[in-house]
């Protein structure tokens, strides 16, 4: 399997498209800045959000019990899934038991994480993704490349081609309004006909047993209110103690994500409507393990706003697919190694450790510090390439011994000769697109001894 560096290099080959991707996402970051600047209490809001999430994580079992009890009292069926397979099976069982064939799904990163669509397809069940971006990538048999903007890797001509093929739109008509209208007609038919609507959950309220789902398109609502069955899927970390805490999170979420003051729809589901069935599937899938890791647990605070994606100079220039996982970007780089350290050993290195991600995070996850800590973890676990290990140990050996270090540097600048990345030939990754620093005759130390030492 190709690693991030390789996939990124492939992405960057198309310079114009890379620039477009970078600039488009930077524009989203700027919108976020503007929205945040509008609130003098921004930094305070982040602190409140962080505290509420930390508190909830540290009292998870009691809030989960409270949530479950209230949801049951509301007439909702609550299911527990230890892992992705169980989550998928629970949903498939509901579908089977009712003989359901028409299913719509709004955006849920959890169902992406569990590969629900793929699982159901294998069982012969078709799911229609209803978020416009997700529908586009579904037509193309691609995963989303961004958790908030699933089709951000595509240009309008790509969408036009895809819609021409699947929705028979006019060939070459790239107008976003025209294309969106075509999807509107197509998806409204799907909503009206749907028997089951699957949604994600943005927040689950312990004190009321309700769940909140946020969209701009209205697709979660169109699906759930038309269908006879609603299944809401959530990782247990979506919990918050009280409804009043939604104020903190809803104020932060859309501003951080897209720079909007709030999403168009913030829907609060408590009871199924008359004649409807509502299910909530609560998923662990490795989360309880993360909860046990002091260095990494606060990644569970994430509210999936993707502000860290948009600000990340690496993500903007390497695209979502270079992370080869459902949740890409900086947050993905600290979450995925929990699930499979070997497969995702490259991700914590897909960062210059600039720290911008931690600064934009609305719930104050120490993302860049966790990236650094993951590097140590992966090294300890033996998940890094042997060549890197040999190189680093060699460097450490020399740099830990002053005489050896100076011996190397004395005549021709030790580093120039021995640090593998500073040697002038084509396969040297430093030299490929960069000149090397000139090696001066004298090191600073030599000069100091000659000129300054008393």
């Amino acid at each position: 399997m190709k690693d991030h560096a390789t996939l990124a290099e492939e992405f960057i080959k198309d310079d114009a498209r890379t620039n477009w991707h970078d600039e488009t996402l930077w524009f989203v970051r700027q919108k976020r800045d503007k929205a945040a600047h509008g609130l003098p209490e921004w930094e305070q809001l982040r602190e409140w959000a962080s505290q509420i999430k930390n508190h909830t994580l540290s009292n998870m079992e009691s809030y989960l019990e409270e949530f479950e009890k209230n949801a049951l009292d509301n007439g909702v069926k609550v299911h527990w899934a230890a892992d992705a397979t169980e989550h998928n099976q629970i949903i498939h069982d509901i579908i089977k038991s009712k003989g359901i064939t028409r299913i719509v799904k709004s955006k849920s990163m959890l169902t992406e994480e569990c590969h629900l669509n793929h699982y159901l397809e294998e069982q012969g069940v078709e799911v229609v993704d209803t978020d416009l971006g997700e529908r586009i990538v579904q037509f193309r048999h691609e995963p989303p490349s961004h958790i908030v903007l699933p089709a951000i890797h595509l240009k309008k001509q790509d969408v036009s081609d895809t819609f021409h093929e699947h929705l028979h739109t006019e060939k070459g008509n790239n107008d976003p309004t025209y294309l969106t209208r075509a999807a509107r007609v197509h998806l409204r038919e799907k909503f009206i006909a749907s028997q089951l609507a699957i949604t994600g959950v943005n927040f689950a309220i312990a004190e009321t047993g309700g769940v909140v789902v946020c969209t701009n398109e209205g697709n979660a609502d169109m699906g759930t209110h038309a269908a006879d069955v609603h299944i809401a899927c959530m990782g247990f970390e979506k919990l918050i103690p009280k409804a009043s805490h939604l104020s903190v999170f809803l104020r932060l979420l859309a501003r951080s994500a897209t720079g909007q003051p709030i999403t168009t729809y913030s829907s609060h589901f408590h009871k199924p409507r008359a004649g409807q069935e509502m299910h909530i599937v609560i998923v662990d899938n490795g989360r309880s393990d993360i909860l046990g890791k002091a260095d990494f647990r606060n990644a569970l605070k994430c509210i999936r706003c993707a502000a860290c994606f948009n600000t990340c100079p690496v993500y903007r220039r390497s695209g979502g697919f270079s992370y080869h996982t459902a949740v890409a970007g900086p947050i993905g780089s600290i979450l995925n190694p929990n699930f499979d350290p070997k497969k995702y050993a490259d991700l914590p290195f897909a960062s210059s450790l600039c720290g911008s991600c931690s600064n934009v995070c609305p719930v104050k996850i120490d993302i860049h510090d966790q990236l650094w800590k993951w590097r140590q973890e992966l090294s300890k676990g033996g998940h890094l390439p042997l060549s890197k290990k040999i190189m680093m140990k060699g460097m450490a050996f020399v740099l830990g011994r002053p005489a050896l270090y100076r011996f190397g540097g004395a005549s021709a600048r030790w580093v120039l000769r021995h640090m593998p990345f500073l040697v002038k030939f084509k396969v040297n990754p430093w030299y490929k697109q960069r000149e090397m620093p000139e090696a001066p005759k004298q090191s600073f130390r030599d000069w100091y001894i000659q000129n300054k030492k008393k």
């Binding site: 210059s352 090294s379 890094l384 990754p429 600073f444």
Partner: protein
């Protein structure tokens, strides 16, 4: 006040003029500065690659060299930050803690500890300021575009007193240049793309020089500039502050 000069390994080997400028500048500002002769590297390249545990000898050597000083000052935000956050020597934990608490990047040492300005510097050029991430976001040398807090900049505060200088900031005032230590080689394509973009933004301001508090970022930008045949040069902030009429 006993001050030790910390000159990171790659500055020692490739950019001795930055070490010289730092030493001379501190001396001009009335400091008595010592250069511990057996210093090598802070251990950051290994640690950032996941091998912090393997750089024990570097850490020990660092503690051995820099014990017994009131302050340790270095012309690199990144290396200073690494020492502040990660220096580890269990056999000398008290000394280690003292070092971690008393190590400063050059500009913050001048503005916060010495509480001085640099008055005699002259640099009649158009200069672009690069905010290095570890100095800025790690050490807090300046306010950050992501945070909704009052604006300030210690490097700018010092540069603003330099005679004749025309300081220009690129759009995206504090985006990373893409160096990132070993990131620059293990993620070569992204690293260089980030550097090229940064350079484009500085070139749009028609600068003659790009300056900053970190030689490592400047080394990366310099490598790209030279390969591109650009006339723009890189210069460390100490070299500008150490100029005289």
């Amino acid at each position: 006040m006993k001050i030790a000069l910390f000159i990171p390994c790659y500055i020692d080997q490739f950019y001795p003029q930055v070490g010289q400028a730092t030493l001379e500048l501190l001396t001009k500002l009335g400091c008595e500065v010592d250069f511990p002769l057996n210093q090598t590297c802070c251990g950051q390249p290994m640690a950032n690659s996941g091998f912090a545990a393997a750089s024990k000898d570097c850490d020990k050597n660092f503690v051995r060299n820099f014990t017994g000083y009131d302050y340790i000052v270095g012309p690199s935000g990144s290396c200073v930050l690494h020492v502040k956050e990660h220096l580890k020597d269990d056999q000398h934990s008290e000394e280690t803690i003292h070092i971690r608490k008393h190590i400063y990047e050059l500009t913050e040492f001048i503005t916060d500890v010495l509480k001085k300005e640099v008055h005699n510097a002259v640099f009649p050029h158009k200069v672009g300021l690069h905010n290095s991430c570890h100095g800025q976001r790690g050490l807090g040398l300046s306010s950050m575009s992501e945070r909704m807090l009052p604006a300030f900049s210690k490097p700018e505060q010092l540069l603003s007193k330099v005679k004749g200088i025309q300081l220009l900031k690129p759009v995206r005032t504090d985006e990373c240049c893409g160096f990132g230590g070993t990131f620059s080689v293990f993620e070569e394509a992204v690293s260089v793309k980030m550097g090229k973009d940064r350079i484009k933004q500085h070139e749009a301001n028609e600068v003659e020089f790009i300056t900053g508090v970190d030689v490592s970022c400047l080394m990366h930008l310099e490598g790209i500039l030279k390969r591109q045949g650009s006339k723009v040069k890189t210069i460390h902030i100490a070299e500008i502050l150490n100029t005289e009429a």
